[in-house]
């Protein structure tokens, strides 16, 4: 791969990293490398500078303070799976992380990398819109935060600006809650999603519902939430929600599945995910990590 001529640095401090990217023509940030290195090899991107974030220690941390969970830019999916704070307070994050590709990828791939690549089938998108997470950026003008809802602009396009680095994600704790991540792949283990869905059931009777892979960006299904919030979930209510799903998501046909199949499965996934989230909220239901489809 010697035809890829770029320089490589592994700074120890954020300021150093920002300084380097401000001086480079086409810098790329390297965290887990599972997307970037593939894209470099394929010639999709041609960096002149690769800035490896793994030397910046603070990026390696998961913290939970004042009801805010912060996931650093270097935290891998494998770290999210074994983290005790996540298991105790946000088990759905571990449930989701366990479905991302395979162990050998999860040992390197980061959630922040996932949302910076922002391919429509990413798993983290619907999670972050349901949790109303904030993406934290550092740049030449200091720090800023962007809500997950405003972060995803289009397929592979995010709100990041030139010279900026995503340093982490912050996720506000929504009070005692339960949830369910549902992912449709072609087979269990290592596949990209054809449809994915995150449902949170909050203890005040409200819900948060987001779909992924069914549009260029994750879809927070507010119309469905408005329909079911505060209500007892009945079969008729779910049938009504099915009709709204048809309005809220626009799946496409591609190499992995047809739009009709995706739409059909989105409804089944919604029903099962909702039931699982509700029963988990009441201390029952399938253990986190057990697929409901």
């Amino acid at each position: 791969m010697s035809e890829n001529q770029f320089d490589y640095v592994k700074p120890k401090f954020l300021n150093e990293a920002l300084d380097i990217i401000s001086k480079s023509v086409n810098p790329f940030i390297l965290a887990g490398g599972t997307d970037l290195i593939d894209m470099i090899k394929e010639g999709i991107v041609q960096p002149d500078m690769v800035v490896d974030l793994k030397g910046i220690e603070q990026f390696n941390q998961i913290t939970f303070k004042n009801d805010i969970l912060t996931i650093g830019a270097g935290v891998t999916f494998s770290q999210l799976i074994v983290s005790k704070v996540i298991k105790d307070n946000f088990p759905i994050i571990a449930e989701l992380s366990r479905t991302v590709a395979s162990v050998g990828i999860r040992n390197r791939a980061t959630m922040i990398g996932n949302i910076c690549s922002a391919v429509p089938c990413m798993d983290s998108g619907p999670l972050l819109t349901s949790y109303e997470a904030m993406i934290i950026l550092a740049g030449p003008k200091g720090e800023r935060k962007v809500s997950a809802e405003n972060w995803f602009i289009n397929s592979r396009k995010t709100a990041i600006e030139k010279g900026e680095i995503v340093t982490g994600i912050s996720i506000p704790y929504p009070g005692k809650h339960a949830g369910c991540f549902v992912k449709l792949g072609r087979y269990e283990g290592e596949d990209l999603a054809q449809v994915n869905l995150v449902i949170l059931a909050l203890s005040d009777g409200n819900f948060r519902v987001s779909f992924g892979s069914v549009a260029p960006v994750p879809v927070r299904a507010k119309k469905i939430e408005n329909l079911i919030n505060g209500k007892t979930i009945s079969h008729t209510l779910i049938e009504d929600a099915f009709n709204i799903i048809e309005e809220e998501i626009k799946p496409i046909t591609d190499i992995r599945a047809s739009k009709e199949y995706r739409m059909h499965m989105a409804k089944i996934m919604f029903e099962r995910g909702l039931n699982a989230a509700l029963s988990r909220l009441n201390g029952a239901g399938p253990e986190y990590g057990i697929s409901v489809i």
Binding site: M1, N4, Y8, T34, K41, S78, A101, I105, R108
Partner: protein
Amino acid sequence: MKKEINFILNGEKVNLEVAPGEILLEVLRDKLGVKSPKCGCNKGDCGTCTVMLNGKTVRSCLVLAIEVNDQEVVTLEGIMHSGLTPLQESFLKHNSFQCGFCAPGMILSATELLGKNPKPEKREIQEAIAGNLCRCTGYSPVIDAIIDLTN
């Protein structure tokens, strides 16, 4: 624009110069003569290029050689310094491989699993090797061998 890197490979210090664009898999195979990691898909999907980086399995086709500077890399050669491991013996007994192309990666993934979880359930074994594709065996003899070893 070559840079010098130092790392531990299978317990020994290695020092060489690489260009930042060089891929770990190619450096291991072509410059260092370590042939157990194989190039299957070259894009992270098949697991034949699996090596351990600081004790965790990674896809060496998706690692820059320069990233392992000051780190520790172990390949299949490194875990069988003193002969076949009990896991490998069990694979042998169960005739777990046919062509063997997937074997180095499969063995490393299973080794990592057993290090974390000496008594995995079948579901956990399946999850651990889900990223190691095998075209020959249908996985059953691989899973049987791991279960047999842990009983």
